[in-house]
């Protein structure tokens, strides 16, 4: 980096993503607190460990193959030609964005003085992966084995969500080109898919013992510690700021990128390389959060657990188009998403006996799905990608954002890449006898032995005189 402007841009971008990673770490802290707060006393420590251990499990697999998937599969393969080499197969050529640079043996996947961006970009996406796995984690507490959850976490965190990111987020993604898919802050790419995946697992896993009466009426369980849930959700809100920032490119000269001769236009862009501003998305983040809280407080009659969750659902529902919406549009979309998700949660619970312990399928899955559909109508006609006008492409193959394309995109996210894989993998684990803990353990509590040992230690210490 000998050119000062290039150096400044590169170092700023490196630092920017690094900060987003630190902020997003708070999402995981929040999820851990939230889950423990929602679980019962006798399951606390196993619940905490289950969610904590997804960090190394997803991180290592993300290094080994997850990140490569993002760069290898935007064209399907076989669904739409690449804008770089017109191939519809894997990107394995020598172009600047070839997937071969992101294999675990690549020299760019380490300390490399020629690359200041790969590591922080890898990490930003990795934190998205943790979030996807953590969303699933909350729904299935108190009855899944840690082994089974580890496999499911790797599947959603290092395989399925990143396939959808390659298809619907990557600048070369076939869903952008053919469907006009637009999902700036991951209503579908993270939330709908993780919610769908959790629903697929829950269909096989079954409810917690005692959740439904003998006549099939659902009973409320918890949260045991509303204060831990409160702090957890506030931390998730906080980490979500980092998530929004990480979905942007902080500084980009769009003139040359769009092939506009002699024109410089420096701006932040969304992940699709179309202009937005950090200022603008700040309006929308807070207004959609507010819309969610307002609607949640009303529909849940002031119940704190649902009100906090609804704030999150409001943001999630508006996220697909929060790079372009007016703040009041964001607020209203957040409200609509919350009301529909809340109603759907209780309808599915009663009708299908699905025990989603923290409402994760509703808050992430239904709200994300609904947000994608609304985005198709509200942003109908906008370009889905910066490259639809760019020098790298002829401008004919990227569909504009449209309701049908977004509806199909929502189905792909929630059902095709979420619910179906979750259901199949859970079925396989169930068939191996590895999915659910024994009934006796669930009744006694996963932490029974830990608690027994602690009590025995307490007695020994209490009776000690020296």
């Amino acid at each position: 980096m000998t050119d000062q402007l290039a150096a400044l841009t590169t170092i700023f971008t490196e630092f920017y993503y690094w900060i987003t990673v630190v902020l997003m770490f708070l999402i995981h802290v929040g999820f851990c607190m939230y889950e423990v707060g929602a679980s019962r006393y006798k399951h606390h420590q196993h619940t905490l460990m289950k969610n904590t251990m997804l960090i190394p499990l997803v991180t290592v697999t993300w290094f080994l193959f997850g990140w490569w998937i993002y760069w290898a599969f935007p064209t399907g393969p076989g669904l739409a030609p690449s804008i770089m080499n017109e191939s519809t197969a894997l990107i394995t050529d020598d172009s600047a964005f070839s997937a071969k640079f992101y294999t675990a043996t690549s020299q760019l996947m380490a300390v490399n003085l020629g690359d200041h961006i790969s590591g922080v970009f890898w990490a930003a996406f990795l934190l998205f992966s943790w979030t996807a796995a953590s969303i699933v984690s909350g729904a299935i507490i108190e009855r899944i084995t840690t082994f089974a959850f580890g496999i499911l976490a790797i599947a959603i965190g290092s395989v399925f969500w990143v396939i959808d990111a390659a298809w619907g987020w990557h600048f070369d993604g076939w869903m952008l080109k053919l469907l006009g898919y637009h999902d700036a802050y991951a209503s579908g790419v993270i939330h709908a898919i993780a919610g769908g995946f959790a629903l697929g697992v829950l269909m096989v896993l079954g409810p917690r013992i005692g959740k439904f009466s003998s006549s099939g009426e659902p009973r409320n369980i918890g949260p045991r510690n509303p204060w831990l849930v409160t702090i957890g959700l506030f931390l998730i809100y906080t980490g979500f700021w980092g998530f929004y920032a990480a979905c942007n490119i902080p500084i980009f000269n769009l003139g040359p990128e769009y092939g506009m001769e002699g024109i410089s236009y420096w701006t932040a862009t969304n992940i699709y390389v179309t202009p937005t501003t950090l200022s603008g998305i700040t309006f929308n983040f807070l207004m959609s959060l507010s819309g969610g809280l307002l609607a949640g407080y009303w529909i849940a009659k002031g119940d704190p657990f649902w009100t906090y969750s609804s704030g999150l659902a409001g943001i999630i529902c508006a996220s697909a188009g929060n790079d372009l919406y007016h703040p009041i549009q964001s607020m209203i979309i957040g409200m609509i998403g919350v009301v529909l998700s809340y109603k759907l949660h209780y309808w599915v619970e009663r009708k299908f006996k699905i025990d989603d312990a923290v409402g994760a399928v509703a808050v992430h899955g239904y709200a994300g799905f609904i947000g994608l559909i609304i985005c198709g109508f509200v942003l109908n006609g906008y370009p889905s990608s910066g490259y639809s006008v760019g020098a790298m492409w002829d401008g004919t193959t990227y569909a504009a954002i449209n309701p049908l394309g977004m509806f199909i995109g929502a189905i792909i996210m929630f059902v095709v890449l979420g619910l179906i894989p979750g259901y199949i993998i859970a079925k396989i684990l169930h068939g191996m006898g590895k999915l659910r803990i024994p009934r006796e353990v669930e009744i006694a509590g996963l932490d029974y032995e830990i608690m027994e040992t602690a009590k025995s230690d307490e007695k020994a210490v209490a009776s000690a005189t020296r």
Binding site: L64, Q107, N112, F147, P438, R439, V441, A444, G445, Y448
Partner: protein, 76 residues
């Protein structure tokens, strides 16, 4: 193993040689490191799955009631 032994000499090289990997064993050890990581990763799953199954089996044999844990709540 050292890829760089003198930073001044390294930074004085032509730009294309400065901009590169600087970790120990760069260019020769990556494949081996990935194989090691895969072995550790699979081994961890095997070990923890086995110990979890043993723990669950032991606990399920004891057949504690749903409220038995309450007598084990500590008050340090």
């Amino acid at each position: 193993m050292a890829t760089v032994t003198n930073w001044i000499d390294h930074l004085n090289k032509p730009a294309d040689q400065v901009a590169g990997a600087i970790y120990p064993g760069a260019g020769s050890s990556e494949g081996l490191l990935v194989i090691l990581a895969i072995i550790i990763w699979i081994g961890w799953h095997v070990l923890t799955s086995k110990s979890e199954s043993e723990e669950l089996e032991r606990l399920s044999r004891k057949r504690h009631g749903p409220n038995d844990h309450k007598s084990n709540i500590t008050d340090w």
